[in-house]
């Protein structure tokens, strides 16, 4: 479904980065390809659509100089190739061209700047070929003279086409227009008679173009064809147009089936002929003239005798009295597709007539070239030319139009003139001309798709002159269409070529970012030498088009979740106002259907779970409810609610309880639409098995994810293995490594995942690539050098103000010159200018010069927002020798003109105020030196489980020394209990090998039985006290990785601890003999999870039980295995294991939190009682063994958290800096997080996160020193009383109390840790703390300047 129409020039979406426009280029539209002169049809049709007639003509005039003429007489091959023919009727392209021409005065079209050249070119003949050649050569700057034998210019356009089809006013205007281009036309000058070609050359013509046309009519060559009254149509029309023939008495018969036959017949009637007949030897279908033309002729009274051929001219006394014809029949089409006429014997008939006018063909009259010219002539009496260059065998003499082709159309002659002009120019520049035909590159058919819902509409039919008015009149028969119909007709254009190349964008772009060069950009192949490749090409949302069940393509109010996201978005099609597609009404009830294209092998091949849809559906429902200012009902239809991510379960519970989102466990099979109001009704069975029918205003399909098809191709090209679902094949133990060494993968191409995990994986892939590239690190880095900084201390402020127009974004609303003028009078301002774009490269260069020239020492830029542009301008003033902090931006776009676009004057006043505030503040700004701290290039890893050890090894392999500590006496952490990953890899062996690598690695120092006592310092310079076996030592390091892990919680539920057959997690496998004996094994999920005490999902338990169950079934198929669960959360490709378990006969019984299973111990052993929602009754299961999946808890982290000042969430997991965008960082720099300490996760994700943390730490450790923001607090020790309030409230440990001799404790700031928030400054009772760049006085200056 298309939510909103997109133009060929578009911004992908409002927040896209880069925030630039793209232009959709497709293959050339078929109409343009069909045009002999390669006219940009799509371009001018689009202009007509917008009523930009002059622009349409400008586009046409890029390719030919006769828009009005061709808008009337062109046989329009374009229309025959129009793709609208596939659905209804072609666009009336020729009419649109004519409408544009009729609305445009050619004098309004500016003549481009022409650089005159000395060379002269002579053109013989002023027909379409000659004048077109003249036009293009004149544009090139050549001096062009046209020689015409007839009294007026125009050639066959004037003497061949009757006025009722082409008014002379139109033709005259177009020919006169050519004079503006410097073309001289000499009429009444016949070459061969008055002047010879040689004369022209001797008079300085460096090249000659022959466009003399084909003016000699062919004779009938039948008996009597020399009788008086027989002429030919060319001569006939010429005489009429010359004014020599004004009247025709009697009856006329025209022979032929082309345009000129019809012209002759219609002109004969207009001259007063009693009757006008046409004799044509084939049928109407074969006539070359257009059907409309034939129809008009017949309406006017022309009688056409189809399937008849002339036999002899009947005469009396040498004067024509009639013509004897014979009827013909047509043969079947021959190999060339033509049907030959065969005379039918005995069918002769005679038409009485006084005038016989054959219109059966013309040929050039080549007498004028003379015998001595040496120009080659073919046996068909046409000039012989090189087909590519149109040069004759005589160098410098070119030819085009009818003189080389025989009689053809105006547009073909135009093409000849244009082609010859191109090669004449090359010839005159002395370039080598090709000898042979140059093949064009093959034309593609990558056109814009025709939409299924493209409305069908008849093509435009222009009005015609009423028959009464045509009598004896040469008034134009075809009238021009009105503007409205023309626009509507142009609206039908399908825009096949994407960008129509009207180049209006080039004109509109004031920044000159889009140019003709931009438009001619082509795909390039670039070779880059790299040591590693990371694949992150993403996914495609599943396309539900072919799912008959969901009627996505049929029902207007069924949308995909991706479309729904756009509907909700403030930058979406309705600016975030939630309305449904069919009638734009606010929906009152919305349903989400889960697992569309996921967990489904019936209707698609995606057996896996897409992992993210449950969560996004809840999010969409919640946001929709928050969005609607009315009571919106939302219902999510799901199979298992999979909210297994960090804090997702809480969100789910809140959605249910606080927001009232309804959750209905059911897969929908039938959707119906009310044909009247387009509501959608769903049929489903509720949890008690009752059939329900519920009607919704809208249905959202929660579509799953698939690897993008282009990504699959890419992987294949790179020879990287894919798995059966077309995700990249990876192992759980090296989750970002592909089958090809050095190629890594991140994101959904590795497997379905959400944003946090994708971001994590991206860092992991970067780290893995970094390990391989470690020796080359930094070798390609170029240091930027800045000039020596000017010392401005003690100088009086000299403020320069630059006011930006931002194209029309500011200047179109506020009065920028007025703001600039105002700024000139502000205190300390010595220089002001306004710019079209202050941020453009040239303005930046100029700014540097201006600063130096005017000795400016403070700069204000009044433009957009400092959040995006401050760094750019700061760099510019550094280039001019100013400290970057002597700069202030005034936000007059985002926070002024964009928000007050309807109040131009007020926006101007506000902008003045904002500039005044900025100037007041900038005068007080001080230079602030850069702040950098040296980095201790070593890391401390806390926790030696799989995550900690993986991180340690990755860092050490990159050459960074690592200290790894663990509180236990053995490395391995929680993974020691695991046997296999979900993918089946051996974990025990992996952990042993990893521990061995850690022990033996020369770069790793492992301290066991150790704990962190205390920690100090900041990024690059940490000091941590570690105690091991009563020895405390201090480790200095530049970064910290927290990997303290977690473990399964204990429980006293379900007789655990009371009966030895009740086990937790991997205790089940501890006694294999006992397990093998057991006939009935029951797994109970969510023990102590997803409840009030631990309101989170432990993510790994469902998969673990399924894996164990499969293993038991494989060992002993007759064993009965039950899994009692609340929601089966085998996310991603783990779903395949779930399916396998069901196939093996594992019995899954769902229970609810309110009605948990009960375990009792009787005489015969353990019995589990559980309510089965399908059977709707309680089951009693005799259990030989029970396994409980308890929650995964973090280790005790509080002491560590307070030592490093790190936040914990309510469940005591560490809290990352940003759940989605910075999943392994802490808000404090230099400290990173991985493994179970972050959240429960399977081993592959722990490894990923460990690699990610190591990768992030390497970004710190790889630098010799790091720049930190120097905008820190500054303590005045004299004023400080040592109260300690600042140290207490600082969240970053950036202020400490320190003993100052003789004064007691005083506050001391640590700039590298300071985030510049200023909380300390505003809280200090003594005002002893100030913030650099945001000093009291600086802020107060701005405040004072407001009023």
């Amino acid at each position: 479904m298309e939510l909103v129409g997109r133009k060929a020039a578009y911004k992908p979406y409002a927040q896209a980065i880069p925030g630039a426009f793209a232009i959709d280029k497709r293959d050339t539209a078929p109409c343009r390809m069909a045009c002999p002169a390669n006219l940009n049809v799509q371009g001018y049709v689009q202009m007509v659509k917008q009523g930009k007639f002059r622009e349409a003509i400008e586009i046409i005039m890029r390719d030919l100089p006769f828009p009005g003429t061709l808008g009337r007489v062109c046989p329009h091959a374009c229309e025959k190739s129009c793709r609208r023919l596939e659905i209804d009727e072609p666009i009336s392209i020729r009419e649109l061209k004519r409408v544009a021409a009729d609305h445009t005065d050619l004098n309004d079209i500016p003549v481009p700047q022409i650089i005159k050249k000395d060379e002269k070119v002579a053109i013989i003949g002023s027909g379409p070929a000659g004048l077109t050649a003249a036009y293009f050569l004149a544009l090139e700057g050549y001096q062009v003279s046209v020689y015409e034998a007839m009294p007026e210019a125009g050639g066959m356009m004037r003497y061949g086409i009757p006025e009722h089809r082409l008014p002379r006013s139109v033709l005259d205007a177009e020919i006169n227009n050519l004079k503006r281009y410097g073309i001289e036309i000499h009429t009444n000058t016949a070459i061969g008679k008055d002047l010879t070609i040689r004369d022209l050359q001797q008079h300085g013509a460096k090249a000659v173009f022959i466009g003399a046309g084909a003016w000699k009519g062919l004779r009938l060559h039948i008996q009597g064809d020399e009788s008086k009254g027989v002429s030919d149509v060319t001569s006939f029309l010429r005489e009429v147009h010359l004014g020599d023939l004004k009247e025709l008495k009697g009856k006329a018969v025209i022979i032929g089936g082309g345009h000129s036959a019809l012209d002759g017949a219609r002109v004969a009637l207009r001259l007063g002929a009693d009757e006008s007949h046409i004799v044509y030897r084939r049928s109407k279908a074969e006539m070359l003239a257009e059907p409309e033309e034939i129809e008009e002729a017949e309406k006017e009274g022309v009688k056409i005798h189809f399937l008849a051929a002339p036999v002899r001219v009947v005469n009396k006394n040498g004067k024509v009295t009639g013509i004897e014809c014979i009827k013909t029949r047509l043969t079947e089409p021959d190999t060339s597709g033509r049907r030959k006429p065969i005379p039918i014997e005995g069918s002769e008939f005679t038409i009485e007539a006084e005038h016989i006018i054959p219109a059966i063909g013309q040929e050039p009259d080549l007498a004028f070239i003379g015998d001595q010219s040496g120009i080659e002539v073919s046996k068909w009496k046409l000039l012989v030319v090189n087909p590519e260059t149109l040069q004759t065998n005589a160098p410098g003499i070119f030819a085009g139009g009818d003189v080389i082709t025989g009689p053809a159309t105006v547009i073909e002659a135009v093409d000849g003139g244009k082609r010859a002009a191109k090669y004449i120019a090359k010839y005159l520049r002395g370039e080598q001309l090709p000898q042979e035909w140059q093949d064009e590159p093959p034309m593609g058919t990558n056109w814009v798709e025709i939409r299924d819902d493209e409305p069908l509409k008849h093509r435009l039919k222009a009005p015609t002159l009423s028959l009464g008015k045509r009598h004896k009149s040469f008034a134009e028969v075809n009238l021009t269409a009105d503007e409205k119909s023309a626009k509507e007709e142009a609206e039908r254009c399908l825009n096949c070529g994407g960008c129509c190349e009207c180049y209006e964008c080039v004109k509109a772009c004031k920044a000159k970012a889009v140019t003709l060069e931009t438009h001619s950009q082509k795909t390039e192949d670039i070779s880059i030498n790299v040591g590693s490749v990371i694949l992150a090409p993403g996914f495609e949302p599943f396309k539900p088009d072919n799912f008959a069940t969901y009627q996505y393509t049929k029902f207007a109010n069924v949308v995909t979740s991706m479309e729904y996201e756009r509907l909700l978005s403030a930058t979406g099609p309705n600016q975030g106002h939630l309305v449904r597609p069919s009638d734009k009404k606010e929906p009152k009830k919305i349903a989400w259907l889960q697992c569309i294209g996921s967990r489904d092998i019936n209707q698609c091949d995606n057996a896996y779970c897409s992992s993210v849809c449950c969560m996004y559906a809840i999010k969409e429902a919640v946001i929709s409810k928050e969005h609607a200012d009315y009571d919106l009902d939302t219902a999510i239809f799901f199979m298992d609610m999979r909210t297994h991510g960090k804090d997702f379960e809480k969100y789910y519970e809140r959605a249910k309880k606080e927001q009232g989102v309804r959750f209905i466990r059911c897969r929908i099979h039938t959707i119906d639409e009310d044909p009247e109001n387009k509501d959608v009704s769903l049929r489903y069975a509720d949890e008690n098995g009752n059939i329900q029918v519920e009607t919704f205003d809208m249905v959202v399909l929660s579509v799953g994810m698939e690897p993008a098809s282009s990504a699959i191709d890419l992987a294949k090209r790179l020879d990287v293995e894919l798995n059966e679902h077309n995700f990249i094949n990876t192992s759980s133990l090296s989750p970002v490594s592909t089958s090809r060494k050095g190629i890594y993968v991140a994101g959904v191409l590795q497997g379905c995942k959400d944003i946090p995990q994708s971001v994590m994986e991206a860092s992991a892939a970067a780290c893995s690539a970094g390990v391989g590239l470690a020796p080359a690190r930094g070798t390609l880095v170029k240091e930027k050098a800045f000039p020596q900084e000017n010392d401005v201390q003690g100088q009086k402020p000299r403020v320069g103000v630059f006011v930006c127009n931002c194209g029309v974004n500011i200047g179109g609303i506020a009065d920028v010159p007025a703001i600039a003028a105002y700024a000139k009078n502000l205190p300390d301002v010595v220089y002001v200018e306004d710019n079209l774009f202050t941020c453009s490269q040239d303005t930046q260069e100029k700014m540097v010069e201006v600063i130096k020239e005017h000795n400016l020492n403070r700069i204000v830029v009044a433009a957009c927002t400092p959040r995006t542009h401050e760094p750019l301008f700061q760099e510019t003033i550094r280039n001019a020798g100013l400290n970057p902090y002597l700069f202030e931006m005034s936000n007059i776009r985002n926070q002024c003109t964009w928000c007050h676009s309807d109040e131009k004057e007020k926006a101007t006043e506000k902008a003045k105020d904002l500039v005044r505030m900025a100037v007041a503040r900038v005068a007080l700004l001080e230079p602030i030196p850069d702040l950098s701290v040296d980095v201790n290039k070593s890391a401390l890893v806390i926790g030696a489980g799989v995550a900690g050890m993986t991180a340690a090894v990755s860092l050490a392999d990159q050459g960074f020394p690592v200290t790894i500590v663990d509180k236990s006496s053995e490395p391995g952490g929680a993974a020691k209990d695991l046997s296999r990953s979900w993918g089946g890899e051996d974990i025990k062996g992996f952990v042993a090998e990893l521990a061995d690598r850690v022990r033996k690695h020369p770069g790793i120092d492992m301290i066991l039985d150790a704990e962190v006592v205390n920690a100090f310092g900041f990024v690059g310079n940490f000091e941590t006290e570690i105690r091991s076996k009563d020895i405390t030592k201090t480790v200095k390091h530049g970064a910290v990785i927290i990997a303290t892990g977690g473990q399964a919680a204990g429980t006293d539920e379900y007789l655990y601890g009371k009966n030895s057959n009740v086990t937790l997690w991997h205790e089940l496998e501890k006694d294999p003999v006992k397990l093998k004996k057991a006939d009935n094994i029951v797994f109970i999920q969510c023990v102590g999870s997803r409840d009030d005490q631990r309101p989170y999902c432990s993510r790994i338990c469902c998969t673990s039980s399924v894996q164990q169950a499969i293993s038991i079934k494989e060992d002993k198929p007759e064993a009965n295995v039950f899994i009692l669960y609340r929601d089966m959360r085998t996310f991603g490709e783990r779903e395949i294991l779930y399916k396998k378990a069901r196939e093996k006969g594992v019995i899954f019984i769902r229970y609810t939190r309110e009605n948990k299973p009960k375990v009792t111990e009787g005489a015969k052993g353990l019995v589990v009682e559980v309510f089965d929602p399908i059977l709707q009754q309680n089951l009693l299961i005799k259990a030989d063994m029970i396994n409980l999946k308890t929650a995964i808890e973090p280790s005790e982290n509080e002491h560590l958290a307070s030592s490093y000042k790190l936040p914990l969430n309510e469940e005591k997991f560490f809290m990352e800096a940003h759940a989605k965008l910075r999943p392994v960082d802490f808000a404090s720099d230099g400290i990173f997080l991985c493994g179970l300490a972050h959240y429960p996760k399977p081993v592959d994700e722990s490894i990923e996160q460990a690699l990610a943390a190591a990768g992030r730490a390497a970004t710190v450790l790889s630098k010799a020193s790091i720049q930190v923001s120097p905008l820190a607090s500054r303590v005045d020790v004299e004023k400080c009383i040592g109260c300690g309030l600042c140290a207490e409230i600082c969240s970053f440990g950036a202020i400490v109390l320190e003993e100052v001799e003789g004064k007691g404790k005083r506050a001391k700031n640590i700039p590298a840790s300071c985030k510049g928030c200023g909380l300390c400054a505003s809280s200090c009772p003594q005002k002893a703390i100030d913030m650099l760049h945001f000093r009291h006085a600086q802020i107060e200056a701005a405040i004072s300047a407001v009023a």
Binding site: Q15, T571, N894, K910, S1322, F1334, V1346
Partner: protein, 66 residues
Amino acid sequence: MTDFEPKIVAFLCNWCAYAGADLAGVSRLQYPSSLRTIRVMCSGRIDPVFIVKALKGGCDGVMVGG
């Protein structure tokens, strides 16, 4: 009172409220032009004295966004 045009000083945190005000612009949300923004690195920087100064200096309202 209908012609009354207040002048309001807004102290906005660079990381949230100021970014929000920028986004309002990007989204072309229209609001009265009475607001004069002063950007700070955190609303924690706002000393109560600033608010008093603004009101004393003739501003009709003060907004702190962070």
